[in-house]
């Protein structure tokens, strides 16, 4: 199955992708079957791995690149983008 096109979404200015926000993001990703990745700062992480997402070191205002591959890819990307936009500390 082809990978979907990239979706770009920006973290709220005051929310880094660490601790609780990262867990919220990963838990959203785990609801989907598709292979999901999130890129930031030149690195790419498995969106379902909390440790990989934490290691991105994405601070508030960082633009994340979301990618999905699988049958529920469009829904997953939509949910992840909405999740990022709504993150709070």
């Amino acid at each position: 199955m082809p990978a979907s096109s990239d979706v770009l979404v920006t973290l709220p200015g005051n929310v880094a992708l660490h601790a609780r926000p990262a867990a919220t993001f990963v838990k959203t990703a785990m609801k989907f079957r598709s292979r999901l990745t999130v890129g930031a700062n030149g690195k790419t992480a498995d969106a379902k791995s909390i440790l990989a997402v934490l290691a991105l070191g994405a601070v508030g205002g960082t633009t994340l690149t979301l990618q999905a591959e699988g049958e529920d890819a469009p829904a997953a990307l939509e949910a992840l983008a909405a999740c990022v936009t709504a993150l709070s500390e």
């Binding site: 601790a19 609780r20 909390i50």
Partner: protein, 128 residues
């Protein structure tokens, strides 16, 4: 949800890590510290570990992480002596990263095998 037990020689280390993992994963996961010997000494006692496992166990299994050396041996000895019917799992994982990975997996409703695997895969996670 899969419970998590954190076994350390140090009371503070076990409790501090439990607080950190709860902060990341959310308060709904049972993360139970088992650290320190009697009278505040460094060590691990069977009773502390057994009590922590009992508190963490809500029927879907328990993943146990231990810090080093004799903590690992204490848990292993307990489990080998019939204190588990297979749903208590000692994992070979880094203490901090494994606890965080396991706690988040559990909070997402994953099953024992997946929670245990996430903790063990934490060995390969780069920090930078």
């Amino acid at each position: 949800m899969v419970g998590i037990v954190l076994v350390s020689h140090s009371f503070e280390l076990a409790h501090g890590l439990a607080a950190l993992a709860s902060q990341v994963a959310g308060a709904e996961v049972r993360i139970e510290p088992a650290g320190g010997g009697p009278d505040g000494s460094l060590g691990t006692t069977d009773d502390t570990v057994v009590a922590a496992i009992a508190r963490a166990d809500v029927g879907q299994g328990v993943v146990v992480l231990a810090d080093l050396g004799s903590s690992v041996l204490t848990v292993r000895h307990l489990l080998e002596n019939g204190n588990s019917n297979g749903h208590i799992r000692l994992v070979d994982a880094p203490f901090v990263e494994g606890a965080i990975a396991a706690a988040v997996m559990s909070s997402a409703g994953q099953e024992l095998d997946d929670v245990a695997r996430a903790a063990e895969e934490a060995r390969d996670a780069r920090k930078l």
